[in-house]
């Protein structure tokens, strides 16, 4: 399907499936593949017939959700690294622009049945990264995923949870309140429409999105058979930075991390500074102008007006900045999010201020 959409576009394929007409060929398909595809096409057709896109979209909108597709401004360009395995679309729920939230982000994954050590390290690491304006991308599971999200939220960064089910389903149930927090300050993501229940296979397929949204993946605590190693494999396939947190060699739940260090050439990271350093070179590539992820000269007129309105030391509220930049509140907020993700500014108690290391202060 990825090959079909890549070659002919989603609209044409969707129309053909809905109309029940023959799907176009994909270049280089041999007889063997063609016969496999005939059976597949039957299944695709049956599923397409049963979908009411308008109902799905309006039901999603009712619960505050939205759908983004490749080409949308909010579509994270890093997902294109997945090639034919790129999601066709992503359902989102939450206040953060997904693309902005992922600009300076790191995937943080690990075991569901984490130890106290792992939970502590995950929360501490995520919080420290948040304080350096790095957001966290993870799953929605108990254990390391949950601790990473909570740490990131405590550190004041947007956090991104990629779920393997529809965004109307709170799975696991005990994370209902956490998902509310994430939607309020970050973004929930799924490639599945509402009503989709999670499957074992779905979690593994989901892992490619966690790895692809970020420039690097940290495995915090994982046994030898943990799904986190599957995410690590995706990160390695994508040539992302692969990192692992060591732990006691006496703990089976650190054995996966140690294998990554020993056999996969993962970088050994022990705190947020280590992770930032590993990701640094990538950030630097995006910062031709110096300390920020995007060059100041590369900013559009509106963003530059907003940046000029953000003070150096004591922060200022969004409303004041919007007024100074001559924008409405929503537009100003959008620009502020972008500038924060780009490393130009940061949140503080009073609102927003330029980052000490952005090269914007004392100008």
């Amino acid at each position: 399907m990825g090959a079909l959409i890549g070659e002919h576009g989603a609209a044409e394929i969707w129309a053909a499936l809905r109309a029940g007409t023959k799907l176009p060929d994909v270049e280089g398909t041999d007889t063997q593949q063609r016969s496999t595809r005939t059976a597949r096409q039957e299944r695709w057709r049956a599923r397409a017939q049963g979908i009411d896109p308008d109902a799905l979209l309006s039901a999603s909108a009712e619960m505050g959700g939205r759908l983004v597709v490749p080409g949308d401004p909010e579509w994270p360009g890093r997902l294109d690294r997945l090639g034919q395995r790129r999601p066709y679309a992503l359902w989102l729920r939450g206040v953060q622009d997904l693309r902005n939230a992922c600009l300076r982000s790191v995937a943080m994954v690990g075991s569901r049945a984490a130890t106290g050590y792992g939970l502590h390290v995950a929360a501490d690491l995520a919080c420290g990264l948040a304080e350096r304006s790095w957001s966290v991308v993870s799953g929605g599971a108990y254990g390391i995923d949950g601790a990473a999200h909570r740490g990131a939220l405590a550190g004041g960064a947007p956090t991104v949870a990629v779920l393997a089910c529809g965004l109307d389903i709170d799975y696991p149930r005990g994370h209902e309140a956490l998902f509310v927090d994430i939607a309020a300050r970050g973004t929930l993501v799924s490639e599945h429409p509402r009503g989709t229940v999670p499957t074992r296979h779905g979690f593994l397929v989901r892992n490619r999105i966690i790895a692809a949204l970020t420039p690097g993946t940290v495995v915090v605590e994982a046994g030898l058979r943990s799904g986190a190693l599957n995410t690590a494999r995706h990160a390695q396939d994508l040539c992302s930075v692969l990192m692992a947190v060591p732990g006691p060699v006496t703990s089976a739940l650190s054995a996966g991390c140690h294998r990554l260090l020993r056999e996969w050439q993962a970088a050994c990271v022990t705190d947020a500074a280590d992770v930032a350093e590993q990701l640094g070179p990538i950030g630097e590539e995006l910062r031709p102008g110096g300390g920020t992820a995007l060059a100041r000269d590369g900013l559009d007129e509106e963003s530059r007006r907003v940046l000029d309105a953000v003070p150096d030391r004591r922060g200022t509220g969004t409303a004041t900045i919007a007024l100074a930049a001559d924008l409405d509140l929503d537009a100003a907020l959008g620009r502020l999010g972008l500038l924060a993700a780009g490393g130009f500014i940061e949140r503080c108690a009073e609102g927003w201020r330029t980052r000490p290391d952005s090269g914007m202060q004392e100008r």
Copy 2:
């Protein structure tokens, strides 16, 4: 002094120092170095005058010690990697032939003020290596050094302690009993004559010997300022295999190990199998004939007679083997030690037997 001895031989230099005559020049010495050396030579001369070699040797022999120098059969060839910094001689005390004991050996170092975790891992690792016929080389300090020796002894391997003081001095005092055990089943080593008290600088200088005696060094638990990192530096300078055991990132006493993993490209090892695997390729080079450190064809006539007298499964005592090989007990014991260090045979409850993986069984 290393350069002088290397160029002119120890005998000539010693004679000149004792006679108070001018020392010969070293090739490539410039004026600056020559003036530094004049001051040094005065100190060397004064010290040489105060030494009574015969008294030192007989006092050392009285307490069961011996002196080995480069060229002696017991001199470990690996020390020659130190170049001009090779020890001039080594004082030894203990039943093991130093060269044989170091053939299949690994340096195991770490903090004096180790945690329970570090002590446990050091002993466990050393014991596991001993069971694979790898002996341990370490210092004589509290903490990781002591735990490594105890683990190796528990696993039935000879263990080698390199001290920074004369072998008549038990430093630290609490290791008096441990040093007795090591002398009884392994070897104590020092480049200092009896009566020398340990100095801070002496420990660092000593570390080069620990690294040089072995094909690889494992740092088990070390803080960022631990002397173990100095040993690791020597190992790296000598192109030995450098290994580190990870620990909790929340433990300052594992921070040195994590730095080795992150910045020094140390191999991450979590158990004895990992260490053996890291050292494996080196062992293999020494085993053109298969599973043993030395090729069977490379053995001299006497060693081969002893090897033929060692049974496959149930072991046999030394006396029986000596009888079968037509050697006296001492000669047989020496050959058995060599064969064990070479990986051909191993100790067992009944005495000696061939190793299961030596390729000698079922022949």
